[in-house]
């Protein structure tokens, strides 16, 4: 069989789209982000508990007293976990994606129900959208729309589209043919038949589809966190990246609360909207728990709460504290940083966030996987990142995107990649020793993300050079999974071989042995570079100069990393501040305020 270059066609198709239709994507992006910002602004305007009250009244009205109380408790829990803004951001994202998915899928479903040809054409397309692994959709979405909300919304709505279309089609087709015939026999126009007979009777099924759309949207939101949509998905993503089980669980609970609330409320909405559902609900005997206020009462309650919320909202989040002190070079200019959840990346990124904020910039930082990070820089959605391992580890990315970004030089000296075993594993000291000990390690090398440069290097070069091909299988996974496996094996004193790199905090936490590389298969050590989007130096000459001059010693870096590790998730910047206090003068060395004079750091 000849190799069909399907992938190449898709590549060139995507390239062509990016090249020729960017105006369209920019327009879509603007609309999506506008919708998202609008909804998010409304949701985050009131005090969290007030909005929780409004949402609870909605649940009370649609489902009953118990549902209302539980809804309030759930949202209060989210607020107490300090996840409110993230939850609202996720909710906005899901709402935008759902609204657009419905605007597209319901008419498509109606069309498909009326025409067999359309139905037959749509079906494979829907199968493709629904079963294609979501990451595969996410990457093109990112290329078209860049990092952030728009890509997340598009990926989510594409993923969530299928059940909307299918259930609408199914619902309409399920309507008794005799009823449709009766409508026609009395001279009803096709449009009226749709509105008066088919849609009302299909409504329960369509609402089940809406429910599915929302649920799928929510599940996709977590994955969309990888392209920097933030929200609870972003939180989960960060927690996974940093192996922070507790924080991941909290964010997960937040998603569950949203999911249950949306599921129950849309389910009840389906009942309330459909005439048949209303009758069935009216027949059921009311209990104290299922007592529901009349619509008028509920509307009044919502409006009153909303007014109160609006009034308080004016005073609520208005008092944002300004962290810019001292010499204001940035004057509120926005700088977007991205980082990979590697320790030196986190440390340097939050260090620069702090430094730049002290100089009056408005800095946002977002965590990404390596692929999206480079795409973000290449498309100009991010300003700079500080964690590129060149020339070896990130060679693939540099080859693909290098001409679309600026290299601001390296700030950390030589690093190394290696395979590592715990020091209790005797007799294995060099890569050459691995060959005879395959059975001991189950023939497995615990790898990290397959997208990581060192994985390619390992599979293509290192295994070959030491004759390990066939004896060992490289397990693709993720950095946290690798570290978890190391931790687990280490605790049980089992033999394990993992991919690791220096500097890494694991070397200080565990007693480990770097396997020697006499053949030099890993190549020379990388240096850690700062990369910026094209044109960044021209836009921000001072910052670019600071970054070019920036460098850290091993002592400084490990010190800062340890500090951050100890402070825990969410307190990175506090750790940076404390560390800068202990090391006075460094801030001014790295980000000199120029002729405006020295500022008393800390």
């Amino acid at each position: 069989m000849p190799r069909l270059p399907l992938g190449d066609w898709v590549d060139s198709g995507v390239d062509w789209l990016v090249g020729h239709l960017s105006w369209l994507f920019d327009a879509i992006r603007a609309v999506l982000e506008g919708m998202y910002d609008g909804i998010d602004a409304v949701l985050t305007a009131p005090q969290p508990l007030l909005l929780a009250g409004i949402l609870a009244v909605l649940a009370w009205w649609l489902r009953g007293l118990l549902a209302g109380v539980l809804a309030f408790a759930g949202f209060a829990l989210v607020d107490s976990l300090d996840l409110w803004e993230r939850a609202m951001s996720t909710l906005s994202l899901v709402l935008v994606a759902t609204i657009i998915a419905l605007v597209i899928s319901v008419p498509l479903g109606i069309w498909a129900a009326r025409s067999r040809a359309v139905s037959a054409t749509l079906r494979p397309a829907l199968d493709l959208l629904q079963t294609m692994p979501s990451m595969v959709l996410l990457i093109p979405a990112m290329l078209f729309f860049g990092l952030g909300t728009a890509a997340g919304v598009v990926a989510t709505l594409i993923f969530a589209l299928a059940p909307g279309v299918r259930m609408t089609e199914l619902g309409i087709r399920q309507v008794d043919a005799e009823l449709v015939e009766a409508a026609e026999a009395f001279g009803t126009t096709p449009r009226d038949t749709l509105w008066r007979v088919q849609l009302p009777l299909a409504l329960p099924t369509i609402m089940a589809g809406v429910n599915q759309v929302i649920m799928l949207g929510l599940s996709m939101v977590v994955i969309a966190g990888m392209v920097g949509t933030g929200g609870l998905g972003g939180a989960v993503n960060e927690a996974i990246g940093q192996l922070d089980i507790g924080y991941g669980f909290e964010a997960g609970v937040g998603i569950v609360v949203l999911a249950i609330y949306l599921d129950r409320v849309t389910g009840a909405l389906g009942t309330q909207l459909s005439p048949l559902g209303r009758r069935a609900a009216a027949k059921a005997r009311p209990t104290a728990f299922s007592y529901r206020p009349r619509p008028a009462v509920a509307v009044v309650a919502v409006v009153v709460l909303a007014l109160v919320a609006g009034g308080l909202g004016v005073f609520g989040p208005g008092a944002t504290k300004s962290t810019a002190s001292g010499t204001d070079i940035g004057q509120g200019k926005e700088i977007k940083l991205g980082y990979i959840p590697w320790d030196e990346g986190i440390a340097s990124t939050f260090l620069w966030k702090e430094l730049l904020e002290r100089r009056g910039f408005k800095v946002s930082v977002t965590q990404y996987a390596a692929g999206p990070l480079y795409t973000g820089l290449a498309t100009g959605r991010l300003d700079f990142e500080t964690d590129s391992w060149l020339p070896t580890t990130h060679a693939e990315y540099w080859k693909k995107y290098g001409d679309r970004m600026e290299d601001l030089g390296n700030w950390y000296g030589s690093t190394s990649l290696e395979l590592t075993v715990p020091s209790y594993v005797k007799d294995v000291n060099s890569l050459a020793d691995l060959k005879d000990h395959a059975a001991e390690f189950d023939g497995r090398i615990i790898g990290i993300e397959p997208s990581a440069g060192m994985m390619g290097l390992l599979k293509d070069k290192v295994l070959d050079q030491y004759g390990l091909k066939g004896k060992y299988q490289v397990v693709d996974g993720s950095t946290p999974a690798m570290l978890t496996e190391l931790k687990r094996a280490y605790a049980k004193k089992q033999p394990v071989v993992v991919t690791l790199w220096s500097p890494h905090w694991a070397y200080s936490d565990y007693r480990l042995k770097k396997l020697k590389d006499p053949a030099g298969a890993w190549g020379k050590g990388d240096t850690v570079h700062t990369l910026a989007r094209k044109g960044f130096s021209a836009d921000n000459p001072e910052v670019a100069q600071w970054l070019k001059d920036f460098s850290m010693t091993e002592e400084q870096l490990t010190g800062l990393e340890a500090r951050i590790q100890k402070a825990g998730k969410g307190k990175e910047q506090d750790a940076v501040r404390a560390w800068l206090k202990e090391n006075p003068g460094l801030a001014d060395t790295w980000a000199p305020a120029g002729k405006a004079g020295q500022e008393a750091a800390g």
């Binding site: 005799e178 015939e181 026999a185 009395f186 001279g187 009803t188 007979v197 009302p200």
Partner: protein
């Protein structure tokens, strides 16, 4: 009087190349040959005319094409060939919109499984056709309530279809059809889904309504008894063709072929036949000279039997001028009941009749 609805050489073929199939049928091909070629001929060369105020019943087994035929009459299905004329207007020549208007204003339909809208109240169901016509709410509710009352459903207006029994649901279906004041009622096996007793009730009610409303009705059924009870005229369909059209008596006494004859075996003759059908027209003229009761040509068979039992001689049948037009001897009554027209055969060993009668 001109026909209200008229079918002229109607054909309806489903499947591939319907026009070609019609040509083949006109040349004498039969249904099975066409089926082998991938097209299904549901209605073949059907012609009839229904006069205003007439109940025309199309009777046939399932698959005979009777429901397809009914749907071509109001344009739900477009005939492959032939014409449908409604009050002289060719429905097959109308566009979609005009056809819809005719359906909304002049032709209504009652369905086998009632086809009530489950999301509308009984009143809204009955008012549906009026809503399509664009009648203002107050008026259409008044007219819907009237139609419901006519069908014996006064007081149920605010109920929902699923709260009613099958018979009541079909009354709503009937009320919905009557409310629009359409001239033509198409009834598609409308009573077939009902219990036998309810079915009888509905048939009686339809006949009762028809006495005052005088609608033109095309009624589809697979039940010959029902056909004979309701139909002023009956068309028997088989394999897409009408094999016989005539009154109940025509069908019963002069079946066009063995197929029709096999049907009528199960029919309760006593309810269909009248004196004019069973009487012996070979009369002397003095049969009514006694003071005994006499019959008219339209006297039903059962009444005739009762008369005959009270008389010691054959029943005389007198027309409107009091002229004797026929006589009905007892043996003829028994013969018609058993579908036996011949004369009695002489017994080879006669016994004393009287004893047997006395013992019986």
């Amino acid at each position: 009087m001109t026909a209200r609805i008229e079918a002229e050489h109607l054909y309806k073929v489903f499947g591939r190349r319907p026009d070609q199939a019609v040509e083949r049928l006109e040349q004498g091909a039969d249904r099975d040959e066409l089926r082998a070629e991938g097209s299904t001929a549901a209605v073949i060369d059907v012609s009839f005319a229904v006069a205003p105020g007439e109940i025309f019943v199309v009777m046939g087994l399932s698959g005979s094409g009777k429901s397809t035929l009914l749907r071509t009459l109001n344009g739900l299905l477009t005939p492959t060939a032939g014409r449908v004329r409604f009050d002289g207007q060719d429905l097959t020549a109308l566009g979609d919109r005009e056809l819809r208007e005719v359906r909304a204003d002049k032709i209504s339909m009652v369905f086998q499984h009632f086809a009530l809208f489950p999301h509308r109240s009984v009143r809204d169901n009955a008012a549906y056709g009026l809503a399509v016509q664009g009648v203002p709410r107050a008026e259409r509710e008044r007219r819907a309530d009237e139609a419901l009352a006519l069908c014996g459903l006064a007081g149920w207006e605010d109920s929902w279809p699923d709260e009613l029994s099958g018979g009541m649901q079909q009354r709503v279906g009937l009320a919905r059809a009557l409310a629009t004041d359409a001239d033509l009622l198409l009834m598609d096996e409308s009573f077939s889904a009902l219990d036998p007793l309810i079915r009888r009730d509905m048939q009686d009610q339809l006949l009762e309504l028809q006495k005052t409303l005088r609608k033109t009705i095309v009624f589809i059924t697979h039940d010959l008894n029902e056909a004979m009870r309701l139909g002023d005229r009956i068309a028997v369909m088989r394999d897409g063709r009408i094999v016989q059209t005539g009154t109940a008596e025509d069908i019963l006494l002069r079946p066009a072929d063995d197929y029709v004859a096999s049907f009528i075996q199960d029919v309760d003759r006593s309810r269909v036949l009248t004196a004019s059908a069973v009487m012996d027209t070979d009369v002397r003229g003095d049969e009514a000279d006694c003071a005994c009761e006499t019959a008219e040509p339209g006297t039903p068979f059962t009444e005739l039997c009762a008369l005959s039992a009270r008389l010691s001689h054959p029943v005389a049948v007198l027309d409107a001028d009091r002229t004797v037009v026929g006589v009905v001897p007892e043996s003829r009554l028994v013969g018609f009941l058993g579908d036996e027209r011949g004369d009695p055969i002489a017994c080879d060993h006669p016994r004393d009749d009287r004893k047997v009668t006395a013992r019986a």
